[in-house]
């Protein structure tokens, strides 16, 4: 299934894009996504940590993804 991935802050610089499409097996979880994403875009592992949001909410690793979900890579935030 096709996923839309948004990249922000330093993650966009590391990967060289602010959005991309990513193909996943049906029934994939956030953990599955992270594993495959890091395989394909290994630069993201230069971050000490990052969170994943699905459809504009922070998502835990066990959340199951649906086709066309919007996934966002959230590097450590620094607002305020």
């Amino acid at each position: 299934m096709k996923m839309n991935v948004l990249l922000f802050g330093i993650s966009a610089d590391l990967i060289g894009a602010s959005r991309l499409e990513f193909e996943l097996e049906k029934q994939s979880s956030v953990a599955d996504f992270k594993e495959l994403f890091q395989e394909k875009y290994s630069n993201v592992t230069q971050l000490n940590s990052y969170a994943v949001a699905v459809n504009e909410n922070y998502a835990s690793d066990d959340l199951k993804l649906q086709e066309n979900d919007v996934i966002a890579i959230i590097p450590p935030v620094s607002g305020g």
Binding site: N57, P76, G80
Partner: protein
Amino acid sequence: MSNTSVKITAEKLDLNACYAFVADDSCGGIAVFVGTVRNSTQNKEVTQLDFSTYKPMAVKEMQKIADQALESFEIEKIAIHHAEGLLQIGDVPVIITVSAPHRKAAFAACQFAIDTLKETVPIWKKEHFSDGEVWVNAHP
């Protein structure tokens, strides 16, 4: 009428508007936090800051903080406004105002709001120096 005002804008933040929003006859005090752009980081001179946001999610997360503050503290109203885009030294990236019948709750809620914003709201600041730039907190 809503007791929360949450906003991300590329315009200059309006302290008077944040103050006026929370002002209420039932309140004995208003706590105000104004964030300002500092001219140095670890002894290095900062020339300007660039704030980027995941705007729809950032607004949702700021709204959660405002709602949580209303639930957890004895306060009347809260405004959380954040700027995006390029800011210069002395500019204001964030304003939080809180009104409450008694000052203690206003201070506590204001501190809760800025501390939580810095932890959860998807906003990133890039510091520009005379010789380069760096994403704050990113540690690549």
